[in-house]
Symmetry: C2
Subunit: 320 residues, 2 copies
């Protein structure tokens, strides 16, 4: 089953959110408008808005209220991608030039700041002190995660704990917050919100681990950027951490830097693909997914629960 | 009268705010902590917290509540300075190396993001929907101002209106918001908050114009960076706009870029200093100050009003 067929009952609401996203980044500054629109039109799975809407189905669902949360969370995700691409010197995202590549680092920095400010502005339409506290704590963790990503770059001595903490901050927390804020803003109970938070957290961990696996196993066409980009940018991900148990591989990978030749990188990718590290990574991803499924069981039965279950299954099996 | 003697009755509260600022930027990430502390310890006039506290005196003053607003606004100011220094390729601020100079642009970007996120987090301690809306609108304007600053760099054809709109967004709005949020958070009336907003806006305009004058008239020692830095970074300020009425000067200034030789820059600075452009700039600064004084007259008499009056007078006469 295709991802977008799982939540076709949300289509009208998701179209509304797409429109609101476009409106949110409108600016009288042509440069800002162009750069933000470029990013928006590059697409993305809109997984955070989808989680917000589904989580809101556990409370008093009102799309005209919940849309602000959905749009704000997607904007925060977008803003963090723009700043990430500066850190990673990334040229391509989803097959299109990044803002830093099409314009420059400075424009990227301020486009990120602008989108971020717009997100905060939208969230003020939600009058729920808890929601604001959760969102702002999430933002602090997110920035810490990004600083960790800078600090840990090309650090081949980091351990599994460092990796897991980093992807928690970088990815899982924002997905967890999407589920939590969707339910809180629609007045769901504390127990339901907490289970949805945990569900989002576990799914987010699995999602990022899968992303990190696909960076090696998917094709350039599927990725929208060359395979092995993470490694070339110095981001040491789970498959690399596992593969480094082999000292031969470790000796070779230690020499990787931004200028490593394509052939040399290909050799490392091949090693990772034929080693056990991909299977071990999938196992850890599955471990988090199982935890996610267990959290879901605690929730009342409804179409949103079934959909969250299907999306989680999809995330565990996705090929790109 | 020295600036800090004007508000000595706030000393205990300002010391508290200084402590809270240090606490706010504490992080388990050593790099973030060092970079943020470096910025904090480089000093600054803390004019935004001072305005927050004084404005709060028009309502039900409670330092343990209002401190969050004061700290949040100073943090937002700090975060915007860090990102500004990236845009301006600035090496020095207040006589100390900037974060981008001591570390690099990427660290500066994320240190700014982190301080910014911390500010938003602190503001959630204020349960006042209006305050959040005002702050977030301010942030959107602030980022627009910063994008304008990039776009307008080395654009010698910009007019006075472009300059005024830019300094409004870059400086005046945040000072206006400091006055407004201080009074709103302490429950002052709408009329009082509005007058304080306008007071802050006018003072902010005068403050930035004075800053732009001092960039030419003050010494390197007073500025903590070389004179003429704005011009060298391509920021076309009021004295330059006025001086360009002389076509001889305009012909010369058109050639300025980041690599312009010190002697050539000195010659331009000398021209500006001996021309009428400084006096005309002072006149426009005074024009805004007079408007600020007029707004103050509408406010009830108290020690805060007298202090705001004195600070505004000081800003009109300050030499650095």
């Amino acid at each position: 089953m295709k991802l977008n067929l799982m939540y076709s009952f949300l289509n009208t609401d998701l179209q509304l959110i797409e429109k609101e996203l476009e409106q949110a980044i409108q600016s009288d500054k042509q440069l800002l408008q162009e750069a933000s629109l470029h990013l928006l039109q590059a697409g993305g799975k809109r997984i955070r808005p989808i989680f917000v809407l589904l989580a809101a189905k556990f409370g008093d669902y009102n799309v005209n209220k919940i849309k602000h949360v959905a749009v704000a969370l997607e904007l925060i995700h977008m803003a963090s991608l723009v700043h990430d691409d500066v850190i990673d010197d990334a040229e391509l995202r989803r097959g299109k030039p990044t803002i830093k590549a099409k314009w420059d680092n400075k424009i990227a920095m301020y486009t990120g700041d602008y989108i971020f400010a717009r997100a905060i502005e939208l969230m003020t339409k939600i009058e729920h002190p808890d929601a604001h506290r959760i969102l702002s704590n999430t933002l602090v963790e997110l920035t810490k995660g990004e600083i960790e990503q800078i600090k840990d770059k090309f650090d081949f001595d980091q351990d599994l704990r460092t990796y897991l903490r980093r992807i928690k901050r970088k990815t899982a927390i924002l997905i967890a917050a999407s589920c939590q804020l969707g339910s809180i803003a629609s007045g769901a109970s504390k127990e339901v919100s907490h289970s949805l938070y945990l569900f989002g957290y576990y799914v987010g961990m699995s999602f990022q681990i899968t992303d990190d696996i696909l960076d090696f196993t998917a094709t350039e066409e599927q990725l929208g950027k060359p395979a092995g980009s993470d490694l070339l940018q110095g981001n040491i991900t789970l498959p690399v951490l596992y593969a480094m148990k082999d000292t031969n591989f470790k000796d070779k990978v230690l020499n990787v830097n931004e200028n490593t030749h394509r052939d040399e990188l290909q050799e490392l990718i091949q090693y990772i693909k034929q080693s056990e590290s991909i299977d071990r990574s999938i196992a850890l991803s599955d471990h988090y997914l199982n935890k996610a499924f267990k959290e879901l069981e605690k929730l009342p039965n409804n179409v949103a629960k079934r959909t969250l279950n299907n999306i989680a299954k999809f995330i565990g099996k996705r090929k790109y």
